[in-house]
């Protein structure tokens, strides 16, 4: 009883938070109504053009639907309305053709500028190669400030979610937590670690079928296509854990290949990268020593 009360209270808080400011919700929260502005300057601008388009639609909707509702009540036969017979009004027709053109230009202008900036993948300080597989992601740290790196690993659904998601597992998905975030299906065994404040270029491809790499808080998704290398970029402003999912149907476990980006301060990242490189080197050395053994046994 107490825990359910607490959960309810927490949920209520989340609702209020999501209504008051989507900034509080970098990751999905219950009753979330709107897109998160995200954690990069690009994602904030994406949120901006989204909101502009939204309010334009609301504005047009208010005008059109008010007119309709007025007509529905005012011109009822039951209220004695007598039908007129006019069916043309050139002035009105010109107005409602020209005004939408102007509105569209107002929406297209910031969208075009943003798109140009999003397409600019030059001058990145770091490159990550992302490869989609059924049903996991491989991350390769290609270079960091022009220094090549050998760090690469597979990132797949975390064990708790994997156990819980089986048909008839009987486990309540609400009990799957990552820290204090209910991370069911939005958690991985090994997240992609990125430095804050560094322009990261992603080169994205796939090895089997088409996937799509999407972290909503970064403001974009990019399809991962076998035989094609796509690129995109981000520069994360705030440290934190940002969650996403594969966004292109890729087979039976399409819903079970999440993406987690852990953004950390630059110094911490450099330390992490060095550790990973040392481990990778040690592993490579160990593999080299062990490698002949299976052949001898076989």
């Amino acid at each position: 009883m107490i825990s359910s009360g607490v959960r309810r209270a927490r949920r209520a808080c989340a609702v209020v938070a999501s209504l008051a400011s989507a900034a509080a919700s970098a990751n999905p929260v219950p009753w979330q109504l709107n897109m998160s502005p995200g954690v990069t300057s690009i994602s904030e601008r994406v949120h901006g053009v989204h909101m502009l388009a939204f309010w334009v639609c609301v504005g047009i909707g208010v005008v059109v639907f008010s007119a309709m509702i007025y007509a529905m009540f005012r011109f009822r036969k039951s209220k004695g309305a007598v039908a007129q017979s006019w069916s043309h009004n050139t002035m009105m027709e010109a107005i409602w053709t020209i005004i939408p053109v102007i509105i569209l230009i107002v929406m297209a202008w910031p969208a075009t500028r943003l798109l140009v900036d999003m397409a600019n993948v030059e001058n990145a300080d770091m490159t990550i190669k992302v490869t989609g597989y059924q049903w996991k992601w491989r991350y390769e740290y290609v270079d960091y400030y022009k220094k090549p790196s050998t760090v690469n690993f597979i990132s797949s659904l975390d064990a708790d979610s994997a156990r819980t998601r089986q048909l008839g597992s009987g486990i309540d998905p609400r009990t799957v937590m990552d820290g204090d975030y209910p991370a069911y299906l939005l958690n991985v065994d090994k997240p992609l670690v990125l430095p804050v404040g560094v322009k990261v270029r992603f080169v994205i491809t796939a090895d089997d079928v088409i996937h799509s790499w999407w972290v909503p808080t970064l403001g974009w998704k990019q399809d991962a296509i076998p035989g094609i290398i796509n690129s995109n970029w981000t520069q994360i402003d705030k440290p934190g854990t940002y969650r996403g999912q594969c966004a292109e149907l890729c087979g039976k476990d399409h819903g079970f290949m999440p993406i987690v980006v852990k953004a950390v301060p630059k110094a911490e990242f450099e330390q992490w990268l060095a550790t990973q490189e040392a481990e990778a080197a040690a592993r490579a050395a160990a593999t080299a020593q062990v490698a002949p053994a299976p052949a001898a046994q076989g």
Partner: protein
Amino acid sequence: MAAVNPALDHDVHDHGDHKPEGFLDRWLFTTNHKDIGTLYLVFSLIMFLIGGSFAMVIRAELFQPGLQLVQPEFFNQMTTMHALVMIFGAVMPAFVGLGNWMIPLMIGAPDMALPRMNNWSFWILPFAFLMLLSTMFMPGGGPQGGWTMYPPLALEGGLNVAFMIFSIHMMGISSIMGAINIIATILNMRAPGMDLLRMPVFVWSWLITAFLLIAVMPVLAGAVTMLLTDKYFGTSFFNAAGGGDPVMYQHIFWFFGHPEVYIMILPAFGIVSEIIPTFSRKPLFGYQAMIYAIASIAFLSFIVWAHHMFSVGMPLGGELFFMYATMLIAIPTGVKVFNWVSTMWEGSITFEVPMLFAVAFVILFTIGGFSGVMCAIVPADFQYQDTYFVVAHFHYVLVTGAVFAIMASVYYWLPKWSGHMHSEKWGKIHFWSSVISVNVLFFPQHFLGLAGMPRRIPDYNVAFADFNMISSIGGFWFGASQLIFVGVVIHAVYYSRQKATMQVWEGARGLEWTVPSPAPHHTFTVPPLIDASKLAHGDVTH
């Protein structure tokens, strides 16, 4: 021609209602446009219920987080089959059925121009769908790669790939023959005086739609044939390892797919343009503007296909072109909405069931249009693409758009078809139950998509639980509401005692209301005299 030929006149009285006897002669070998129209509509209703039951499985599994009912493989079959059945089995045949029934009646023709081909184009369909649905009972199950059949995923399927492709070829042949028939009928069979610019907007919308069908169904056939040879004959059209390009498939598919979207909505525009003037008792506002708008939308539909694939990694110039071209569609679509509202303005409106559905169509289709404009904005679409926001968008235009228009037309013309009035009370119950539940079903999906829920997933994070549950409740409710519709139709056809008059609706204008209700088996064997003032759109001299 307009002068009455006594011999023909005699013929009308003698054989006007002569129907072939025997079930097979009446239905299997029929060449009568009304019977074929009925077959199409009944087939469409059955497919609507089958496709709807797949949707019920989807909504039941998504009722709460965690997998409770079905394995992900089966869930993917449900999403794929739901789309294929609803698009090719329910919506398109419904419009062809309406076209079959109403186009000859509206232009004063005795039948379709090519009656035997008409029979064939219908009777292909049940076999195509039997084959498609049978894949669900084959080893490996039905297609699971989405109705878009993107390679390489779609090629991972087993037996179902060949069956699905063959059934799509058959549906395509059926659609192309249907379209040829409609064009031939409209261009050759109009009664004297029924000039092109006097035709009802529904006929115009079908003329334009038929050209779209002829233009794009072969493109789909080509795309799926390439899939077939990639899978079974070792070609590499879409196989990167063999020098092919998986993205090329998407370009070809959507070159078909976007006009296909309008194939499913232009006849709906036509229907609503018939119903609103009738119940507003006022001529359609801007008749010619309506036709030019439909034609512009049809033209634009050929140059916007890549907006279905903005995240595929196109060059900047390509993305900008497709964004601008897509945004342009808002203008002719806006013209249509403004014209419908203006038609109601200073009318004398009553709200019988067809009008209720037509008004709901205008409002809810416009909401679907709004989210469509939002999706056109490429940077924002990078977020919307492949999420529930898109699912909400296309269900607003297809369910509250196309399907609501089809239901409006059934309520509108059923008295003409059956000779009986439907139950106004149960029709209204069906309407209000549908219009409320469909919003409970689809509106929360906007929120889910914006919060980050991808489409085509069988299970989701707990943050998405609340709106999914609401959406599922709306789904079950909407599904159950359609059983009322089935009941109303069966009652009207077999049990209703209330005879329909010739004109049926007080404000109805047009040739279809000059024949008795039910429409006799053969109509307009003598071409009617056209009285321009009796046409729904009224004065056409402007």
